[in-house]
């Protein structure tokens, strides 16, 4: 593996990304103006409820969104290069080599008819033009690096012969094979049980320490984010609603949605009368409410008796040092 090199600026810079799905029922605005920056070697947590557009955002980075989805606006700069302007061939050369992805269901993410080793070796074959034999040797090497027990045997295993945790390690090995500068992990632990989750999280932390790989970690488990991320972006209905470094976000969340999210983490040992869940559901991404997308569910809006919330969309405002939130509560003094 090569040491990831950073040339000063951020590894990834997403600006105004809009990815819409043109379905029969209407245009699903799954991602609707997302800004996100990832510095070299940084771990950024991307959190939010199911369906808020986390996966679509990450798929957009590698331009893997399939019909009827399309990136309709924005720019995605990877080390200065606009990924949206590349040819199909050029973006393919980046996929799996300089930016790679792992997914939620590790077993179904591996092709059932090929061995783990074959699927890892493919990365070397396509990106390093290696022949089968040497590519396999490299695959064995990377399996060792991610700490897979008994790699000589695992390399010839088929996916159905692997446990979920083992399959996810294989996926990570595959993702790291070419030594990428950026790893996008889309809920890498959601399908695994708790002890295995911890191992996978440790592995990702090691990856960042040892290889300097920047990581976007998508999850709805705030516990994992608190444990490993440097910075957190909170997504709601296709938008980033709050972004801050991990400490600030957990100690001083600004957006009512983030507060709700943090409030709804069950704390072991702490006795609570009721679990603080956010009322209501994520809005339909076809017919979005006018104004703030969270307004219909927002308790703070009622408490403060704000009418603007249902009329105009708030912008992402600075609410502290390196801390932004998209909420009218914080705009008064600034207008």
């Amino acid at each position: 593996m090569t040491q990831a090199t950073a040339n000063g600026g951020p590894v990834l810079e997403i600006r105004g990304l809009k990815t819409h799905f043109f379905t029969r029922d209407g245009v699903v605005k799954a991602v609707d103006g997302v800004d996100l920056t990832v510095e070299a070697g940084e771990i950024v947590g991307l959190v939010g409820e199911s369906g808020c557009g986390k996966s679509v955002t990450s798929m957009s980075v590698l331009r893997l969104v399939q019909d009827p989805g399309r990136i309709v606006d924005g720019s995605i700069r990877f080390q200065g290069t606009d990924l949206l302007g590349l040819s199909d061939k050029e973006i393919r050369n980046i996929r799996g080599d300089r930016i790679s992805m792992i997914f939620q269901q590790p077993i179904s993410s591996l092709n059932p008819v090929y061995t783990a080793g074959f699927q890892i070796a493919e990365v070397y074959r396509v990106h390093r033009n290696m022949k089968k034999g040497p590519a396999r040797d490299k695959a064995l090497e990377v399996l060792r690096e991610v700490g897979i027990p008994d790699p000589e045997r695992r390399i010839d295993a088929y996916p159905h012969e692997l446990s979920g945790g083992m399959a996810q390690r294989i996926m990570i090995a595959m993702a790291l094979a070419a030594g990428p500068e950026l790893l996008i992990a889309d809920e890498p632990t959601t399908a695994l049980d708790v002890t295995i989750q911890a191992q996978i999280i440790d592995l990702m932390r090691d990856v960042r320490e040892d290889l300097g790989t920047a990581i976007i970690l998508i999850t709805h488990d705030l516990g994992i984010v608190a444990e490993i991320a440097d910075r957190v972006a909170v997504m709601y209905a296709g938008e980033i609603v709050e972004e801050a470094d991990v400490e600030t976000l957990f100690t001083d969340p600004k957006h009512p949605y983030t507060r709700g999210l943090i409030g709804s983490i069950p704390v072991a040992g702490a006795r609570r009368e009721w679990l603080d869940v956010i009322p209501g559901r994520v809005p339909n991404l076809i017919d979005l409410p006018p104004g703030c997308r969270f307004a219909p569910r927002c308790r703070a809006r009622l408490e403060n008796d704000l009418t603007i919330c249902t009329e105009r969309e708030p912008a992402l405002l600075d609410v502290g040092e390196n801390h932004t939130a998209r909420c009218w509560l914080y705009s008064e003094g600034r207008r």
Partner: protein, 339 residues
Amino acid sequence: MLIGILALVFALARLIPGDPCRAALGERATDEICEAYNERYGLNEPIYVQFGIYLNDIAHGDLGESFRFGVPVTELLVERLPTTIELSITALLIAVVVGVPLGIISGYRHNSKTDVATMIGANIGVAMPVFWLGLMLQYVFAVLLRDTPLALPPSGKLDAGLIPTPFYEVWGWPMNGFTEFLAKFTVMNALVTFQWEILSSAMLHLILPAVALATIPMAIIARMTRSSLLDVLGLDYVRTARAKGLAERTVVVRHALRNAMLPVVTVVGLSFGALLGGAILTETIFNLAGVGKTLFDAITSRDYTVVQGFTLVVAVGFVVVNLVVDMLYTYLDPRVRVS
């Protein structure tokens, strides 16, 4: 399994209504003649005794003697089985070679014009009665296009007057039941002995019946390939393959297609059954003396032993083909490999 097939075949043959004696010897055969006839072929014995005798004979490789032609059934088989095998294999080849790529194109470019056209074609193909298609093909290629370069022979195995030399004569091999059987594969025989005129005539004669026979399986295979590929293209590991940076072609061929072919392989095996059924009609229409036509004639004339013998061979053929399919499946899918 085998005994089951045997019992079924035996019972089915006897269930055909009608009297074998009168069917074979004509309506005006007298009772005395029929009595003698039944005596000769053991038809007076109780049915279970007949079955016992039948089993015993089969164990000795004896399929009995045709009531109608007075020759052993095995001899008829040697004579006629190769025609059917050649016809079925050609038809299956056409079905696979045309059906699979069509299915792939439609599946990959689904909802495109090609897809819509192929699927309309496939649905018509499935619904088309074989005999009607056979007659239409004969009409178009032998009547409408007669005397054009596109004309194709509508019946028989070879042009009149052509007599192939069996390969065992050319090579100086002994003539026995087995070499005789092999020599009846007209196309193969002509090919290995360089009888080009015979080869081209045999192949031209095969085209129309094979196409008629191939249509339904081809349509089924194309539809299956399409839907299977569509399913697979949406799966997680295809996304992984793309995220890895593989070329689209590699993603489709290496990662999607191999998995998508699994159900298709099963369908190919099953269509072989339909193919054998279709062979009865096709051979009758195109006047090919194969298993299908023989079976058809035997059923009409209550020639029990022939019906039994030929059905048995067809059933065994079906089992063998599906065994091959299972082996192929095991090769393609590691999940079913026994450790």
